[in-house]
Amino acid sequence: MAADKDVDLIQGTLNVLILKTLSQGPMNGYGIARFVREATAGDIEVEEGALYPALHRMEHREWITAEWGVSENNRRAKYYRLTPLGRRVLRARTESWERLVDAVGKVLYAEPRRA
């Protein structure tokens, strides 16, 4: 049960990262992973084993849509793009993430009180 919650949290976080990344413009899976890695200076490494299931799941939910293009090296590449629904989800998730961070922060940095 607790483990499932962790997975949900991680997956939810990954979704937000992907959505945020895609809010900059269409990108393929490789680009997304690379962007996250570079944005976090290598702190967060997105595993392919998590990235692709997440992308496909969000595609099924119509948060993102995909289209096929040709990469610089003339390969078929799948480019994902945020849908309006995805944009709304990103906004909502960002807000709740900020609230969480804020709340957790309040606890972590609270002045110790004496009785």
Binding site: N28, E48, G49, Y52, P53, H60, N73, R76
Partner: protein, 891 residues
Amino acid sequence: MRPDRAASREKDPTWRRYLRFLRPNPAADLDDELRDHMESTVEELITRGMAPAAARAEAARRFGDVSRVRDVVHRLDQRHFTHQNRLAVLATVVQDIRYAARGLRRSPAFTIVATISIGLGIAANATIFSVVNALLLRPIPGANADGLVRIYQNHHSPFQWDELSWYRDHASSFDYIVGERYQSMSFRPAVNAEAERIRASYVTQGFFRGLGVTMALGRAFDNEDRDAGAPPAAVLSYASWQRRFAGDSAVLGRTVAVADHPMTIVGIASPAFRSSVLGWTPELFVPLSIAPMLTGVRLADFGGSFYTTGRLRRGTGMAAGEAELRGMTRQLVMTDTSRYGGMTARLDHIRGVNAEERAGFAVGSAFLMTMVGLVLLIGCANVANMLLGRAAARRTEFGVRLAIGANRIRLVRQLLTESLMIAAIGGVAGFVVARAITRAIPSFLPPEAGLDTAFLQPDVRVVAFTSALCLLTTIVFGLAPALRAASTDVVAMLKGSDSRLRRVRRRGALVVGQSALCVVLLAVAALFLRSLVSSQTVDPGFRAEAVVDVSIDLALLGPGATPPATFARIIREASAMPSVSSATLAAVVPLTGSNMESRAVPEGAVAHDGRAGSMVYFNVVAPRFFATLQTPILRGREFADADDSTSTPVAVLNETAARRLWPNGDALGKRFKWGDGRLYQVVGIARDANYVMPGEAPKATVYLPFAQAEHRTDMTLQLRTSADVAATRRAVWALLRDVAPRLPPPPVVRMVDDMAITLLPVRLGAAFLGTFGALALVLAAAGIYGVASYSVARRTREIGIRAALGATRGRIIAMVLWENGRRVATGTAIGLAVAILIGIGLSSILYGVRAVDPLALGGVVTVIAMVAAVASIGPARRAANADPVRSIRSE
């Protein structure tokens, strides 16, 4: 990069790309996507200065297990696409239904005629199937059917008490074995109320529990827990509770009297349950253990009259259960070979009527189902015909749709959806009608038929049958027109040409088929009607008019009754009634459905094939039987009062029996040995009379005098009287109150009404088939009219030219009539041939009618010819009235 890889990669995606135009290929897409990721990583590493081989290895290392990722994502995709597909299919189905509904709404006349055509056919089928279901397929209503089986002795005989209890006490394959015996009982709803004669059942211990019958109220009886001295318990049927006690729950604990013994009502059986045997309708269930007390007869003397039902232990099959009972029967036979010799046990499923009646009902059912099948087929032909016409009218619409890229399969699907909707509406309407009819049928039948309004009620099985029938009819009438419509030749259509001739011919074939089916139905119905009429007029060999039957069962008086003396007194006093010219007793009233058979052996006859003599029908009657029924005695005399238990046993034979027993000599004065071991002397030869069925081939029949043959308690008093039945009833009841005060007033009916039961199959057959025939005629008339109108409309130009060239109105009308008449005549010829074959098959149940009955068949031909003429005359006149100039221009 190595050249071979590059080449293969280039080639591969190219054709795959084309493939994607046909249908999505998620697996290949996924491969491409993951490959892109891998290659991008490799390229990144190479730009960072890694050697290609090392870069490739590093990328693979980073990615981890590719096939696992592919599997996970692929499964996700699969699930998603399956779901999407389902939604898409659902959406197109909804679309098709909308399209079909719109199409039907737009042409209400077509919709109404089509649904009525199908609805009538389905109604007829569902009605007959409801009957078939109730009589042959449905498990005993109100009982738990799981593992329930009927146990028969040999083929389909019931058991004696000692046999039943032997099985019950020793068989291990069964959880329960129970028995039921159905008979008349004397019943008083309160201890000092008037006695009434009711139908009731003696049942063995655990009867209700064994059958899984629930109680609507109270409990079933358990003899074990009876307080000594308390009255024995009885269970009332639900129907009887409603009728006699107005459903008052205060009836529980009430004391009633059965055979003048007080009994307590402890429970009311569930409404659905009637009996363990289909057709029995006991009002009261009485424990068998008290039968000796009520009747003065030992259980062993009840004879083989216990219908036995068992519940197989869970996991035990019928074969295993039967094997065990057979083994047990062999043991039983060894205990007393003379008594049980030749006996075996047989298990049978417990659906519908008992095994001995099943074959007859199955044949009748198959026959009636075929007939209603024909009605439905005629209806289907009508709809198919209309659909073809409709498809022709909508050709342009289909052509345009196909031209702009509609899918032919989709078009067929839409047209089939339309057909299915017609069938479904017709099916629902037909089912509702069938329900109403099956509720009404029992009220048209004599109460002896033992049917109540719930008996024929459609259940799940009937609903399933009707639904399946709707699907089937959709295919029968809808598929061909739909395929035809979808095969529209777009180019030809847009040019305005058409293969018209073929189409007319095809629809002409429908008329031939319809006429043939219609003639078959009408001819068979006519045979039944003729048979009904001739069974009313055929001479049965006696005169039933002015005879009144009183069925008297002295066993109802219980122990101590003296049947011979009481019957003698009843006859004496009945003969003295002023309106009565003659009175007698008969064990069996002829033509009422019952009969008795036994073996008679002429004195001195030599046995061949192991047995001497012949099987003959017999009846046990009192003096003046032949006088009362006015059957002539051809030679000798009939029974007299002097033929009593002290005098020489005598018998009267009918002509056929006399010839059968003494083929080479005069029977009068000869003697024959009877089953009771005595020698009877023939004192009279009576004229042949019908016994089992009206109009039957004469049956060898032996009559024995009541005072000499074996002791009987159940006889029918037959009176030839000038009074009406109500007055006779009053007089007879008054007489019986005097002679046997405790006897419940017996039923008093006219003999002709008693005989109605044997005519029931023919009557029902005539009623059903008459209705079906009329339906068929109406449907076929609609079909003939439709095709005539169509062919006239199609030939407008030709007819216009003929008119312009000087053809008279008469000639044109004759031409159209001839065209249709030819088809109807062909169909009629085919139909007559089939009808004659069916008539030959039916000859055993038809009275006094031959399969080639000129009157019946001639009548049918006349009727169909007239209907065809009437149906064609309208279109023909329209053709003749058409303005030639406009006709020629019209196309």
